[in-house]
């Protein structure tokens, strides 16, 4: 009896399920899966989902080549004293609720991020006002990178009706080619094409964003055909899917770097020779090939090619363990009976802190540990949470850390460069510790004043040359972004800064 009942139960279950599979396949929805769920319905904290899905827009955006191009602002200019910016808004732009894009709405959205919240460290914005269709932004000092900051998702513009009375955000009403039609928790967002969009209409009428935290599941969803665009896959999964029919893999370098943060207040790292010796002991290509499955990700300088800050004239970081040993000996270190460098009784031994939320970091740390051991440096690995790095930077107890640093917050990395290597009194907790260069500080000041690209480019080269020469942090590898794209769609282009929408220009394959 029970057996009969169980057979009937399972048959019914599977027949119903199969029916629904057929139903969903006929539903022409572009499905994008990503690891990231929304943290709340506010562009300031979750705008990355809505800008990347083409739902909300910013005044400027990435041009895909490291530069900036207009979006909701059709043009911008700066005053002669270089401290007053004028952004002229595009006309005939409608929000998804049918209301027009007004100056007041833009001022409100920008003020929340630039003046009320202290979101961008070191942006000297004093006020955001409007005059006619112009948005006027005043800064306390020249700040050439301002348009780049206005491409960040947190500055996405939403309709007046999207705000609660207390100024918090109740819902997402943007101006993009997709309008948000429904949400399910913070992991599923359904969009429909907005027929009154000011620019080129979306070709695919429906789109869905689904947050899937597990990378292997995202890869399996691509393989089963459930996902049209599967973002942020591991190198191993990308390699496997490359062989799968019906899927193509797009990989792009992104301006995020795995780097070794050093405490230059310690005896081990207080001279350039010692830091260079450490760098020479790292076989970056070996790590990139064996661990990260892509030899091109070996970080021969801080910034990858995709960044404006990549410098083709630098002497690249190489692997040369013999030279590393010579430099350490020159710095007064001698090998002891255990084969470890030491000064008297003090061994060249330190702790490296890293974290597991970026899964490859502990593996890369182990590779570094063995490469350092091969030249006579002892390193102990401590894996914990990422927050221990700023906390231990603050109290000065950190010795070294291996971390993934994002220099692509906006297309111009000057803000992060300044926060990591700029003046110590305004420096953040992720960058260099115990190292400062007055020459570099001056160059950063000059860069912020450089409104001419030719001049800016020269300064960038000088700044990166100092970082390469003095190695306040040691770059290990760059990040790759692997995306699986169904062959059922065409037109997917990846922006290294992830500021342009994924579905932009995407259509069903004929």
């Amino acid at each position: 009896m029970l057996k009969k009942l169980s057979v009937i139960f399972f048959c019914t279950f599977f027949v119903l399920a199969a029916g629904q599979v057929i139903a969903s396949q006929s539903d022409n929805t572009l499905v994008v899966v990503s690891p990231w769920k929304a943290k709340g319905m506010d562009p300031v904290i979750s705008g990355f989902i809505f800008t990347r899905m083409g739902c909300i827009e910013t005044l400027a955006t990435s041009d895909g080549k490291g530069g900036i191009e207009p979006k909701l602002a059709k043009r911008w200019s700066v005053s002669n004293d270089k401290m007053t910016w004028t952004f002229t808004l595009r006309d005939k732009v409608l929000f998804h609720d049918g209301t027009a894009l007004t100056e007041e709405t833009v001022v409100k959205a920008l003020s929340r991020v630039l003046t009320e919240k202290k979101l961008f460290k070191g942006t000297p914005v004093e006020s955001v006002t409007s005059k006619g269709r112009d948005i006027i932004i005043k800064t306390s000092s020249p700040f050439a990178a301002l348009p780049a900051y206005l491409s960040h998702y947190s500055t996405g513009i939403i309709a007046p009706a999207a705000y609660n009375d207390d100024g918090s955000v109740a819902e997402i009403i943007g101006t993009g080619f997709y309008r948000l039609v429904s949400t399910n928790g913070k992991t599923v967002f359904d969009f429909e094409a907005f027929d009154k969009y000011w620019g080129k209409q979306a070709s695919i009428q429906k789109a869905r964003y689904l947050a899937v935290p597990n990378g292997e599941t995202r890869a399996l969803m691509a393989e089963s055909g459930e996902a049209d665009i599967s973002l942020t896959l591991s190198a191993t999964a990308a390699e496997r899917l490359q062989e799968t029919s019906g899927i193509s893999i797009i990989s792009t370098a992104i301006p995020r770097v795995r780097l070794l943060k050093l405490n230059a207040n310690l005896d081990f790292f207080d001279t350039i020779e010692e830091r260079l010796a450490l760098s020479l002991a790292i076989d970056r290509k070996g790590i990139a090939k064996a661990v990260l499955k892509n030899q091109k990700t070996a970080a021969t300088q801080l910034m990858p090619e995709v960044s404006l800050w990549h410098n083709t004239r630098l002497e690249l970081l190489v692997y040369n363990p013999k030279k590393a040993c010579r430099l350490l000996e020159k710095a007064g270190w001698k090998k002891n009976a255990d084969g470890i460098y030491a000064k008297g009784s003090k061994e060249f031994a330190f702790e490296l802190v890293t974290y597991s939320s970026r899964p490859m970091l502990p593996v890369v740390a182990e590779a570094l540990q063995s490469q350092f051991a091969a030249v006579g440096i002892r390193m102990k690995i401590s894996v914990g949470k990422s927050t221990q790095i700023p906390a231990r930077h603050k109290d000065g107890t950190i010795e070294t850390a291996l971390l993934g640093r994002n220099f692509g917050l906006v297309p111009d990395s000057v803000g992060t460069i300044n926060a990591d290597f700029g003046p110590i009194d305004s420096r953040g907790s992720w960058g260099a510790l115990g190292w400062e260069s007055s020459k570099l500080n001056k160059l950063i000041d000059n860069y912020l004043n450089a409104f001419n690209e030719k001049e800016a480019s020269k300064i960038r080269k000088k700044i990166t040359a100092i970082l390469q020469e003095e190695l306040p942090v040691i770059p290990v590898s760059w990040y790759d972004h692997h995306v699986a794209v169904s062959k059922g769609i065409t037109g997917v282009k990846l922006d290294a800064f992830e500021l342009r929408p994924y579905p932009e220009g995407v259509q069903w394959a004929k």
């Binding site: 119903l16 399920a17 629904q20 202290k118 597990n214 969803m221 089963s224 055909g225």
Partner: protein, 318 residues
Amino acid sequence: MGEIARILRTHLFHGVAVGLVVASLSFVVVNLTRGDTALEIAIARHGTALTNEALVEQIRIEEKLDQSLWIQYTRWIGHAFTFDLGRSLVSKEKVADLLWYHFRHTLVLSVAAMLISLVIALPWGIFCGIFPGGSFDNISGLVSSALVAVPHFVTGILLILALSIKLQWLPVAGFFTSRHLILPAATLGIGLAAFSSRVVATAIVDVRGALFYQFARMKGLAEARVLLGHGIKNASIPVITFIGLQTAHLLDGVVVVETLFAWPGIGKLILDSILARDIPVVQGAGLLIGLMYVAVNASVDLICIVLDPCRRDPEAIR
């Protein structure tokens, strides 16, 4: 009836006490761990690239994290007694809404997993119990040990590879339709069934050895009739107790399964909240889990009373 009312009263008192103790312990433990709550919240909200000291200080003041732990704790307790669990420090959503959203998904998943496990475990366990020590029972023991030992992520991936990739019958992940429920529920249910089948088998063996069962057989009743009429009902008491404990465990949330199938259950919410030091959510979840365990225990006690006359009226048996 009096016994049932007494049990309900006792469990209600236990529920409130356990909930508050668990919530208080959650608060203490999260605060005892090394780290700065304001910094963790800033990173959870804005990521490491945007987090800076000014932002951290702003969050510290806005969320009143600069107040003493005692003040923060008493404020939470005060609000909890008015059924206000506060707002998440990360998303600013109401904790009660957040918990209900995730809990109801966990509840659906747990019930489905339990149903699948029962459908498998009952016939399997009963058959083994009827023929103990036979070759089927011996092989079943091996199979169930193996299934219990296999981690959920392995079972889950094998099921995905077979049913989603190879046969294309079921979706890999998500939670949009009932078909999305099958794989995560089966992943949990198979392991549970392996365990439950052994409990059912043992219970059946015990019942078949009992005097009342032997007496019924001696009266000439057929094995099937005795088993269906008396055996299963009596064997169900230890099974129900076991299932109750397992249900409570499932309702805690099964992080691995939730993560693998992108199922928005409470386990993943709790893990994320602990990592982000989102204290109101951790406390609220502690309270909910405390209450839930007590509710499950109360339900098990009530079912056992209905099934077992000795427990309904202990005096009558003397």
